[in-house]
């Protein structure tokens, strides 16, 4: 059918199917890819456009409804006519990865117009903004910036402010607030094929036969590839892909899939990890345990199996003074005088990453060169891996990942969608796009493992810690390496008896997720410590100080103790009435990693300085880190540097995991800048014959004058420098040579830490927990860019609040199907769920261990939050929560 409409002021005629939604014609027919398609169900708002001036979820609007309408998309608000709202988003950093940003901005512009008309330049309240923005979700957690951006724009802070007068931290910010940024999801090629998976409806089954003959005869079907890598031809979770089809369009691919016949032998399966423990439970890998995928970033240590339970041999090294801990436990259990036993089982559910941009890959093979666009956290490494796997010379493979719509650990390495798209491209010699549907993303995209931790903490009357014992079970679905127990060692010395087990179930595979099982380890540990303080009638911080004499974290304790909310909190259990205030504190720690191989290339061209690095940005701000390091080192303006990343042809950049990115690229960017400075100075001497040239305050000064970079560029370019791989750094290098790959790690745990203080209210009638304010203190060394560091921290807090209060996967026990396959049933926090947040950075204590001083913070901001909530709920009500998430159904009746 045909629809006549106006988009961004121009008349458009759209030919489309009657079933098409507006988002499809806007993106595919009109080519306006600033409008994103994410949930396809009216939940996330990424597809928001204005239709006759009103915000619409274009994924839930029939395309034919646009007939005769005026449609405005984000592209209406371009670089040359930025709206005050866009300027405010830039300056208040209301964005990270940017995938949700166009939707938010379109809605915010509508809100701004309404607000200004009715209220002039009064600032709207957070409540008002939250209800207006209720139809948008941001997985990066940029909400705090969004609140302040909308308030500032409405108050007129950006009326008539010129774009050149804006100071903002995100180097690529303008591309993101205008919808110009092209993510892999937005990439198209002429003649591009669309690939789709055929997936198993069974949670455990042997594939007996597959008949693709009918499908392959379909007009428009170009290739079918088998993607089931299991040598036993067994699928182990519902929704596991078996085949992929590439066809000229999605409809053809879907028809072809429907024509494929697969014969299965259905096998018994297990969904509930608790059932999976039992000796008679169906076994997930009955044939062999060799092929279990790895859910962690480290290597898989040897282990032994019993049914679905895997015991890693590293358990041998987890404990310290194990005997002492056991003895203390036995004594406490037998009721020995003067001992207090805090013994509980704590558990946390799986948490899916839910990146707004799904896993997606576009591959194009021109017969000689392979170009791959991928939403990946490891652009450099991926180039290598693809070359190796497909036996193509490395120089003939280019991976692009200029913009990535969130990843959080789930998009590392040569994973299924990439392997499949490349295989299909090689086979068809045509460009192929493979994007997970949202259902697939929820099933295949990865998740943080579950935890069940039996923890006992023994203390004596003098508040000495006598021992901690913990038995931890984690479920990574069909993968291994949950690792809940190891993180218990990141805090507090003392006797420990720790055991860690994987328990497998017929789900997809877990993937690394921001401090994988850190939040669950601290959920158990920090609530136990809090309970110890209760039993000892001691101040919880005093108790922690006693057990944790570390000076860096000591500063964080000082900070919390200076906060009025902490000082003035009511006594635990002293409140009655329906609404109770809870104040809780918890600490966390993490190791930090870096990559010695990272380099930055800096070119002085006629257009100015161009920095490049094969790193990527998923929202944490890699371009900004590089740009700022160079700008500060040279004393020049940040925006004057062109920073190019997200390309595997550039000099090697780190994989973005384990909070490694900033720590790796910041020092090397400084090095590149200082090399360039020397090169300019010596070239000025040699080529221009200047006398006594020196670099000062962003300029070259010499006997008789000065020259700025622009002038130098015209006279000296091209000049090029590339920073070196890092030299010897003692411990770092040793770690860097470990078999886990080229990653370095800092296990000097005395230098980092985070502390979370939360104030919340508990509605004891309705079982609702409302976080009111979060204070997060972070000891992460030098803060290279406070605005971005804050944004990252907010994001960590918010993701943690998600798993603490609302996120939960739901399964069908009889079919083994994931039922929370959409974003309305998997409930990530919205803007209204976000409390006020205050972040404090303590920069001391770090210089000694990490040269350059920068360290990642993604995990540290995330790991103590759940426990702080638990402690605050206890403080308010006297009820100690043990099972997350704390949805009303779990709270009601308990408080």
């Amino acid at each position: 059918m045909t629809t006549h409409t106006h988009i961004n002021g121009s008349p458009v005629t759209l030919d489309h199917d009657p079933t098409d939604a507006a988002v499809e014609v806007i993106r595919d027919n009109a080519g306006l890819t600033g409008t994103k398609l994410v949930c396809g169900a009216g939940v996330c708002g990424a597809c928001t456009v204005l239709v006759d001036g009103k915000p619409a979820a274009s994924c839930c609007m029939p395309a034919c409804s646009l007939e005769g309408k005026q449609v405005q998309t984000i592209e209406q608000f371009g670089r040359s006519n930025l709206h005050p709202v866009q300027k405010a988003f830039l300056v208040h950093d209301g964005l990270q990865c940017g995938f949700c940003t166009p939707g938010f901005i379109v809605e915010a512009i509508y809100f701004y117009d309404q607000w200004r008309e009715q209220n002039g330049t009064a600032a709207p309240s957070r409540e008002t903004i939250a209800s207006a923005m209720a139809g948008h979700l941001c997985r990066c957690g940029a909400y705090e910036g969004i609140y302040s951006a909308i308030q500032a724009a409405c108050s007129g802070d950006f009326d008539g402010v010129a774009i050149d007068d804006l100071e903002f931290a995100r180097h690529e910010g303008i591309a993101k607030v205008t919808g110009e940024a092209k993510y892999t999801f937005d990439v198209t090629y002429d003649g591009m094929l669309v690939a789709k998976f055929l997936s198993s409806p069974h949670a455990h089954a042997k594939v007996i036969s597959i008949d693709t003959s009918a499908a392959e005869k379909f007009h428009g079907v170009e290739a079918v590839v088998d993607v089931l890598e299991d040598p036993h031809r067994v699928v182990r979770y519902a929704g596991q892909p078996i085949l992929a089809v590439a066809a000229i369009d999605e409809a053809t691919a879907s028809q072809a899939l429907a024509a494929i016949e697969v014969e299965y032998k259905v096998l018994p399966f297990v969904i509930d990890p608790v059932t999976a423990h039992q000796s008679d439970a169906p076994v997930v890998y009955p044939e062999s345990k060799k092929l279990t995928p790895n859910a962690s970033e480290g290597p898989i240590p040897p282990g032994f199996w019993k049914g679905n339970i895997r015991t890693p041999l590293t358990n041998k090294f987890l404990s310290s003074k194990k005997g002492k801990a056991r003895k203390a436990l036995a004594a406490a259990r037998s009721g020995e005088d003067g001992l207090h036993l805090i013994e509980h089982t704590f558990s946390t559910p799986a948490q899916t990453h839910t990146s707004l941009e799904p896993h997606v890959c576009v591959a194009n093979w021109d017969g000689r060169k392979l170009t791959v666009h991928s939403s990946t956290q490891s652009v450099h490494l991926l180039g290598k891996e693809i070359a190796k796997h497909f036996k193509i010379p490395r120089r003939d493979v280019t991976v692009h990942a200029e913009f990535i719509g969130g990843a959080f650990g789930s998009k590392q390495g040569l994973i299924l969608e990439i392997k499949t798209a490349v295989a299909l491209a090689l086979k068809t010699e045509r460009p192929v796009k493979l994007a997970f549907t949202r259902d697939e993303e929820m099933v295949l995209g990865g998740f943080r493992p579950t935890s069940e931790i039996e923890m006992a903490l023994v203390v004596d009357d003098d508040a000495n810690q006598r021992g901690i014992t913990a038995t931890a079970w984690g479920c990574c679905g069909t993968a291994v390496q949950s690792q809940n127990a190891p993180w218990i060692r990141l805090l507090y010395n003392g006797p420990k008896d720790l055991k860690d087990f994987d328990v497998l179930a017929n789900w997809g595979t877990a993937r690394p997720f921001r401090g994988p099982c850190g939040p669950s380890a601290f959920w158990a540990l920090e609530q136990s410590v809090d309970q110890a303080a209760v039993e000892l009638k001691m101040d919880p911080i005093t108790l922690r100080r006693k057990w944790d004499p570390n000076s860096v974290r000591g500063n964080l304790y000082d900070w919390v103790e200076s906060i009025d909310t902490w000082k003035q909190r009511p006594e635990t259990g002293s409140q009655s009435g329906r609404f109770r205030t809870g104040v809780g504190v918890a600490i966390g720690n993490w190791f930090n990693a870096f990559w010695n191989g990272a380099q930055v290339k800096l070119d002085l061209t006629t257009d100015g300085l161009v920095a490049s690095c094969g790193v990527q940005d998923m929202g944490q701000g890699s371009r900004s880190v590089i740009g700022k390091a160079i700008a500060d080192e040279l004393g020049i303006s940040f925006h004057s540097i062109d920073v190019q990343i997200g390309n595997s042809d550039f000099v090697p950049g780190p994989i973005s995991s384990g909070s490694r990115t900033t720590a790796s690229i910041y020092p090397t960017s400084i090095e590149a800048a200082s090399m360039m400075r020397e090169k300019i100075v010596s070239a000025a001497k040699a080529k221009l014959g200047l006398r006594n040239p020196q670099w000062t305050e962003g300029k070259l000064s010499y006997n008789g004058g000065t020259m700025d970079l622009a002038e130098l560029a015209t006279k000296l370019s091209p000049l090029s420098v590339t920073s070196k791989k890092r030299g010897s750094n003692g411990l770092w290098d040793v770690m860097g040579k470990l078999p886990s790959g080229d990653l370095g790690m800092n296990f000097t745990l005395s230098t980092t830490g985070s502390i979370c203080l939360i104030k919340l209210s508990v509605d004891t009638l309705l079982g609702k927990i409302h976080p009111e304010k979060v204070w997060m203190g972070m000891a992460v060394g030098k803060i290279t860019n406070p605005i971005l560091a804050r944004s990252q921290t907010y994001g960590g807090i918010i993701q943690s609040l998600g798993i603490t209060l609302s996120e939960e996967r739901k399964w069908c026990p009889t079919t083994g199907t994931l039922l929370s396959f959409g974003m309305e049933d998997y409930r990530i926090p919205g803007i209204g769920d976000v409390p006020e947040m205050e972040v404090h950075f303590d920069e001391s204590g770090f210089e000694k261990t990490m040269k350059g001083g920068a360290c990642g913070m993604a995990e540290l901001s995330n790991v103590p939050v759940s426990a702080a909530v638990g402690n605050a709920v206890y403080h308010a009500t006297g009820w100690r929560p043990k099972v997350l998430p704390l949805t009303p159904e779990r709270v009601i009746g308990n408080v």
Partner: protein, 316 residues
């Protein structure tokens, strides 16, 4: 495959054998993505004059194509029918409310995850005779088990309109009560009683009552934009401190929204105080027969009923 109806007659004719109306499309489009729709699509959005709100002597008439946004933000409707506009203003998201219609909100299909899943069978989809949820996962299901389907009825608006004894005008059936629109929940294939060729054209609300006290609560884990685990619409009419009339309905706990008549009877004639409200709240689950995984909803119903009663009297 597709009919663009320009009149009620044209729409109804097209629908007489098969197919599905599409109004705002906010429910339909989502189901198209999951391949869950009966064709042809009959677009009714451009039928004229079905989007008007008319106040008259005997009450108020609202066209079926009126958007939820224009209802929820309508000043006079907010004054006259607060228990109707409250849920209308807070359900779903602003973008959905801007284009979702009154008719669509009443006739939308269930949000049961089995029904919405592209691969699973369900009697409501017509691809299976058995309800997988009953023996599978029904944690978000009903705790008042009225019939074969154990998924909660989705319509918050239907729940609210019940408390006004609203009537819906249906082609070929004339005015029927909102209760009759939903029936008794015994039909395993549908959420309402509309047959082929039957379309809602208008909703009629009785004359407004002055000074009614209304409250609405939806139990959610987050602040906004989430399907409720329980929702309660409460209207109280007071004579001094005595409750002269009460209308309460429950949503999200049965396969149809329904009135808590026994609670209403208890309330009427009693003082509006905490004792009354506590007994009323306890009584609200008298008819409940929860499923194995929905027992938790009982506490929620009691709490929500109590909360809305307290809220209602607190409104001025």
């Amino acid at each position: 495959m597709h009919i663009q109806a320009k009149s009620i007659e044209e729409a109804v004719r097209a629908h007489s054998t098969e197919g599905e109306f599409r109004a705002g499309g906010t429910d339909v489009q989502e189901r198209i993505r999951a391949g869950n729709l009966s064709l042809p699509i009959i677009d009714i959005q451009s039928i004229a004059v079905l989007d008007e709100i008319e106040f008259h002597e005997s009450g108020t008439t609202i066209g079926a194509l009126t958007t939820l946004e224009s209802i929820g933000n309508h000043d006079q409707l907010q004054r006259d029918y607060p228990a109707f506009t409250l849920p209308t203003r807070t359900l779903a998201t602003p973008q959905i409310r801007n284009f979702a219609t009154l008719g669509g909100s009443l006739c939308q299909r269930t949000r049961c995850w089995y029904y919405r899943h592209p691969e699973l069978g369900c009697p409501k989809k017509g691809n299976s005779d058995t309800c997988l949820a009953r023996d599978g996962n029904h944690q978000r299901g009903v705790c008042f088990d009225f019939g074969p389907c154990v998924a909660p009825h989705p319509s918050s608006v239907g729940c609210a309109l019940l408390t006004y004894d609203a009537q819906v005008e249906v082609t070929g059936r004339g005015k029927i009560s909102i209760g009759d629109l939903y029936g008794d929940g015994s039909d395993p294939t549908r959420e309402h009683t509309l047959e082929k060729g039957q379309m809602i054209t208008h909703v009629h609300l009785p004359k407004a009552i002055e000074n009614e006290k209304a409250a609405y609560y939806r139990m959610m884990s987050r602040k906004w934009a989430e399907w409720p685990a329980v929702e309660v619409v409460t209207r109280l009419m007071l004579d001094g401190n005595v409750i002269s009339d009460a209308k309460l309905s429950l949503g999200a706990v049965a396969n149809i929204p329904f009135r808590l008549t026994e609670v209403e009877e208890l309330l009427i004639g009693n003082p509006a105080n905490d004792d009354t409200f506590q007994s009323a709240a306890q009584l609200s689950v008298a008819r409940a027969n929860p499923l194995p995984q929905t027992g938790h909803k009982l506490k929620m119903v009691v709490a929500c009923v109590l909360h809305t009663l307290q809220q209602a009297v607190a409104t001025t």
